[in-house]
Amino acid sequence: MSVHVYRKTLRDQRRAVVGWGAAVALLVLLMAALWPSVRDIFDADLLAAYPEPFQRLFDLEAMATGAGFLNAELFSIILPGMFIAYGVGRGARLIAGEEQDGVLEVVVVTPLSRTRLLLEKATGLATGIVGLDAVLLVVTVVGSIVIDMAIPIGHAAVGAVAMVLIGVQHGWLALAVGAATGRRTLAVAAASAVAVAGYALHVIGALVEAVAPWQPLSPFTQAIDAGPVSGTVPVGFAWLAITALMVVAAAIPLFTRRDLVTA
């Protein structure tokens, strides 16, 4: 089966993956380089100075380990934020962006079905995010070895998978909203709003007991609650994958049955 749109989607991401990959690598290496000095100052007294909910939210106790340090400093907000930003920006561009630029019109009037077009673009976006994630995994493992952070490869891989899942989920949401509406700004806005709401639920759920039962609904909680750099693969990963697939599936009938907007 020929997958020309998938290949083009990948080709279009080459430069972006390299650029974002460099940023991710720089960030991880910078943090890893900081680790030895943090480890030396982080003792029980400093920990006790933080209120208990904050200790829980940022998993401060774990800061004494390399994995815990990276989880707190990178994997809890900065890296998920970067993967979401990458996914949403790209996802909104793939259909709604091309449609508003007027370049999609001729592509749609080929024997390739709109369903196939959407699926190939979704797969291409996910592959791009996996590529970005491969950079993250390699740098985390290399950083851990060089700085002696003692992070097992398996644990680093779980953390990396969490970033892929949260990036793909939000990226596919932006792609789906764009496919359903043809409006790029709306796609970015909707996916960003979901990201902010998800993060708020994750944070408030940790701080406010009444909200705590709802916290597992947050994609952030699903992705990072177990670490995410850790030895356990949480059930939340399955939820992230399932909701991502559902969002794309829901967009198919909306995309195939609507009018294409003109540039």
Binding site: S2, K8, D101, V103, V106, V109, P111, D259, T262
Partner: protein
């Protein structure tokens, strides 16, 4: 002869405004159908409905017997389409872009692409983003023709082309007709449609107000003529000439409008000294006026 393009009661509403109303149209095989109309008349709406980019509010459209709304991909396989505002991926070269589209069509003969590019004097090695409007339009024309589709649907195809290339394009259309392909093209320029179409349909405010052969349409067209005489204009003679309307004098000049052929007028002028004759091409609005004058 079987209709290659057929619409029945085809209607498109955009929110509150009407794009197209109850259109019944048949275009037979091997015909060049010119769709004329001012901007906003519904030409683009009709063409986008025919290729399934829009879904009809009512009625249906068929291409080669296939219901467009029901099976758009089968229609797309058989159609070459040029949008009114053709845009292509600016980061690709013409060659890369055409190969990409060709791949989506299951492969296209490279020799055909090369031949088309050569005829249109298009450099395929340049990035599309660096091309002029006219050259980008040529890329659009090549992608519409390159898979030898039995049906071509072209929205304002000569937009941005210089006169030489316009002529080459019209040759392409004539060649396609000679191969028994069916072409529906839209334009707001009468002379362009005149030069190549067999049948012309005039759209106005979402309705097809007339469908006629080019000859009949020209016979009904209004032409504005300014005559400068070497003496007083022979107003009585001009007024008595068949087809002359709206006659008025201005010194040694006479301004008038002729309906249809100018043969009678030219014959009537033979005995007089005409120093200058300026004929203004019948524009669409004037054809509409003629059409409505007849209706009225």
């Amino acid at each position: 002869m079987a209709a290659v393009i057929r619409t029945s009661g085809l209607t498109k509403n955009y929110g509150g405004t009407v794009g197209l109303t109850g259109l019944d149209l048949e275009v037979t095989a091997g015909t060049v159908f010119g769709c004329l109309g001012p901007n906003g008349a519904g030409k683009t709406t009709l063409l986008r409905l025919l290729v399934g980019l829009l879904h009809p509010s009512q009625g249906r459209a068929e291409v080669l017997g296939i219901d467009v709304a029901h099976d758009p991909d089968e229609v797309h396989r058989r159609v070459g389409y040029l949008p009114g505002d053709f845009r292509a991926y600016p980061d690709l070269t013409g060659e890369e872009y055409l190969r990409f589209l060709g791949d989506l069509r299951g492969g296209v003969d490279a020799a055909t692409v090369e031949e088309l590019a050569e005829r249109l004097k298009l450099d395929l090695s340049r990035r599309i983003g660096a091309l002029s409007h006219g050259n980008r339009q040529k890329v659009g024309i090549v992608q519409a023709f390159m898979h030898d589709p039995p049906v071509l649907i072209l929205d304002e195809p000569t937009s941005g082309l210089d006169p030489l290339m316009q002529r080459e394009f019209l040759e392409l259309v004539r060649g396609a007709r000679a191969d028994d392909r069916t072409i529906l093209l839209s334009s707001h320029i009468l002379t362009e449609v005149e030069a190549v179409a067999d049948v012309v349909g005039i759209l106005r405010q979402g309705r097809m107000v007339t469908v006629d052969s080019v000859e009949d349409l020209k016979a009904r067209a209004l032409r504005r003529i300014d005559l400068t005489f070497g003496h007083e204009p022979p107003m009585a003679v001009l007024a008595a000439t068949p087809g002359v309307r709206e006659l008025r004098a201005d010194g040694r000049r006479a301004h008038l409008v002729v309906v249809g052929s100018t043969a009678d007028l030219v014959a009537a002028l033979a005995p007089y000294r005409v120093e200058d004759l300026v004929s203004h091409d019948a524009d669409l609005e004037e054809i509409f006026l003629a059409h409505y004058a007849e209706e009225g």
